[in-house]
Assembly symmetry: C2
Homo-oligomer: 511 residues x 2
């Protein structure tokens, strides 16, 4: 390899390390805002975050980075870089091209409009008034359409919407998503109907028993430790705090989750902790040799969801997990849950019931909520529908797909923050995550036939190691389509996920 190439690559990686370390510091400041910040600090904090994001943008788009990329990709020795080095250069170039192609005014205007739209969304949601929200959403959509047009050129995608999907799920397309979502929908509806008709229905009243918040905090810690997310030891790289909307943030040795506690809904924090712990363990167990390199990031939002939903649902809502953990839960909760039988509990936490709110949906209906949103997004960006028509379309789809009647737009089209935040293209990740998790589970069942038996004994170590080796440690070395192939030997397919659901729910509901 020529000394020039080596030296340019080294310089590029140093600059990239700075950007990564900088972004991880920004994440701390952001986390602090959500969890610890005194209320009076809000205006100072918005100044701090806006400065940090401006500086990060400057760092990522500095002409020096452009020059180094140019030197490397045009070097006659380029092919002597190894696969990891090439991937690093590819990821840096992709980010650089996108960031430099978006006009600064558009970025600034979008950030401003985002803040306005989120604020208006909160007010409109409280007032159950879509008309209040509509004009701001229209403006934000126009800005995202402009960005999508520009990104389509850079990313060479077939459509503007594909360019937005690519931000969260690289190389994925609306066409491919449509194909798998159609199959997914058919499968989910079929299982849903069987569950609804089954005579064996769960008693969910046990989940409304009051558990004091301080006990729920102890349960959260015990749960996270049970799945291997360390928040208590002297070498812990995580912690659990409280926010209205649970989230995960951090980098490698410092990945934190949040949850919320409701006295009369103890299961809510249980599954949010397991979900976020799944996200956190993915971030913590990326290949340590790749720390501070672009390959040392997660693969995609969909893969992230595959890991969170794996821990939350496939592990966390399994009979095997609760065989081990229900006695622990009873011990922590005292008398309140003493009389609950394992089977009744497991059925209760796996109730299948169409609902209006995505975040409260069960495993079977969850995908239908996502498909509604994806179809609308795709049509919005193809100019097949308008912001004005959203409530009508939304309500009709909920009737068709889930059989529920939306009474007002706050429990309908305005329920999620994603569109108000301009995150068009994100929603598919959730369902893709489920699909990936089904495919990964199929291989895991083959490689570790014993994992569920071990789980009943509280032994999750080997399973966690398998996930680390087969999923987490690959970091961002592959695009999602290549990673799922690498892990499972197969292309994207909904079949394993549907088989998993079918098997699980036929047992629970007796169909």
């Amino acid at each position: 390899m020529s000394t020039n190439l080596i030296s340019s690559y080294k310089k590029l990686m140093e600059k990239t390390k700075d950007i990564i370390v900088f972004a991880s510091s920004e994440a701390i400041v952001h986390w602090d805002m959500e969890t610890m910040m005194p209320p009076k600090a809000i205006s100072l904090r918005s100044q701090q975050l806006s400065l940090l994001s401006r500086l990060e943008h400057q760092m990522s788009t500095s002409p020096e980075i452009g020059k180094l990329i140019q030197e490397i990709t045009h070097s006659k020795d380029y092919d002597k870089l190894d696969a990891i080095q090439k991937r690093n250069v590819y990821l840096i170039k992709k980010h650089y091209d996108e960031q430099t192609k978006l006009p600064e005014e558009l970025v600034a205007e979008t950030a401003k409009q985002q803040a306005i739209t989120i604020d208006t969304w909160k007010k409109a949601k409280a007032a159950k008034n879509y008309n209040m929200f509509k004009p701001e959403l229209e403006k934000l959509l126009e800005l995202r359409k402009k960005a999508a047009e520009i990104l389509m050129e850079v990313k060479e995608t077939a459509t503007p919407y594909d360019a937005l999907i690519d931000i969260f799920e690289p190389k994925m397309t609306a066409k491919e998503i449509t194909r798998v979502f159609n199959e997914l929908r058919e499968g989910l509806v079929s299982i849903l109907k069987k569950c609804e008709k089954a005579p064996n229905q769960p008693d969910t009243s046990i989940l409304q028993r009051k558990i004091p918040i301080d006990i729920q905090r102890k349960i959260a810690v015990a749960l996270s430790e049970a799945v291997g997310y360390d928040v208590t030891s002297k070498t812990a790289g995580g912690r659990i705090d409280e926010t209205e909307h649970p989230f995960t943030t951090g980098y490698y040795d410092d990945v934190r989750i949040t949850t919320h506690y409701f006295e009369e809904m103890f299961a809510s924090s249980i599954f949010s902790v397991l979900h976020e712990a799944g996200h956190a363990m993915y971030e913590q167990n990326l290949n340590p040799e790749w720390m501070y390199q672009p390959v040392g990031n997660a693969c995609s939002s969909g893969f992230h969801e595959s890991q969170s939903r794996m821990i939350e649902n496939i592990v966390g809502r399994s009979r095997e997990f609760w065989t081990y953990f229900l006695p622990k839960l009873k011990e922590l909760a005292g008398k309140t849950l003493a009389d609950i039988a394992l089977d009744k509990f497991v059925h209760a936490i796996n109730q299948v019931k169409p609902s209006k709110i995505r975040v409260e949906a069960d495993e079977v209906t969850y995908g239908l909520h996502i498909i509604v949103r994806f179809n609308i997004e795709r049509d919005l960006f193809a100019n097949k529908c308008t912001v004005k028509e959203l409530p009508e379309i939304w309500n009709q789809r909920y009737k068709d797909y889930l059989g529920v009647k939306i009474e007002n737009d706050s429990e309908g089209v305005m329920q999620d923050t994603h569109w108000a935040s301009g995150y068009f293209g994100y929603f598919p990740s959730y369902a893709l995550g489920n699909i990936y998790s089904g495919q990964i589970l199929e291989v895991m069942n083959r490689d570790l036939p014993n994992w569920k038996t071990q789980l009943t004994k509280g032994n999750f170590k080997e399973t966690k190691q398998w996930l680390i080796k087969n999923v987490h440690a690959h970091g961002n070395l592959f695009d999602p389509a290549d990673l799922i192939k690498k892990i499972t030997g197969k292309e994207l397919t909904v079949k394993p996920y549907l088989s998993y659901l079918n098997e699980k729910y036929s047992k629970l509901y007796g169909f």
Copy 2:
């Protein structure tokens, strides 16, 4: 005023705002390390902090700032700037000149040696082995001497040591400090002797009664609210957390304190909370119109100490404060403190007793600890003594000044972290703070003759407002010598502080 001058000043202030906002973000990341960070994150965090400090240095020394300073100070219209604008330019120029004159290698080498010296200090202190510490301290001292030589040129001080003092106490000199410290020492020793001879000695055993930590946390909140440091309301701009060594950090609307709790030493957290609350209120109540400007900072380390020690000692150890707060304390502590009489309690928390450890010292002997350190620092930088001789000199001075025998260097010369951290020039601030607080008290007694009566009723509002108006709101508009003159009409003098001590302790000890 010429448009050029206006535009240059505006640009300079924008760049300065960025630096201030950036530094306040850095402070959050630093605070997080001390309070919230998962233990595994330590190496990542040191990368983050070192990057942020490098970027801050780049921002403060950017050639553009130099150019703008040049344009402004050389403008024919310079004199048309008002006093505040001139002070801003002066402070920015001073910082810029210092930062640009220090060679980057020296800064980097010092940072590295600091980390090594602190680490070695911890180990040497645990091993009670000064010889282990000595070589690293020698290296760090040499680096600080080099920096002091350079800063002496820039700051035009008489000696290198004066240049270091100037970092913490602008324009103050070792000569002036020597003058006031000689007088201070004489006064303190005289009061100490009277206390020691007095028949009326306190019973401090009541301070060893066990108070559970969770109760102490509630006491801390009640105390901070009592002096007007808000940590609970919906508009609170502060919070209390726990660290081994208490500290205050933050900016205007987000100023946080930390404390430590010991079950069998409840007074420890009481006075550390009051001390830090004093620091915090100073930062919170700087002139809000000056936020993001250099004048919107505290005046000096000495003035900071004047405010913390005012709240901790002059207010917080007064009979009047405890007339109000002792019943509250008893209520919170339950039976444990029920039988304690006000007079006994007030005498116990004001026990005067020579000791070896500075941070445990009472109001009377505290200054003597500082004078020992100042004299040694001054002699070190004047090459009148060496690092090798420190233990011998230290122990002799403790015998002479305080009459105590140092058994080993861990309770002697190695007790504090300041020298291991390279903070030569800082120690005098502590005693200067006491001296300032005495002068400020004298004026406060004149302006608000009723303040102590109000304090017995738990009404501290008017006193706090007086401190805000007369001290905090001046920010960094004046150097300390000018500020004390502005507030009190007098030059620096130890007399009011010694009068305060004399009056207080003659009553307590009956001499």
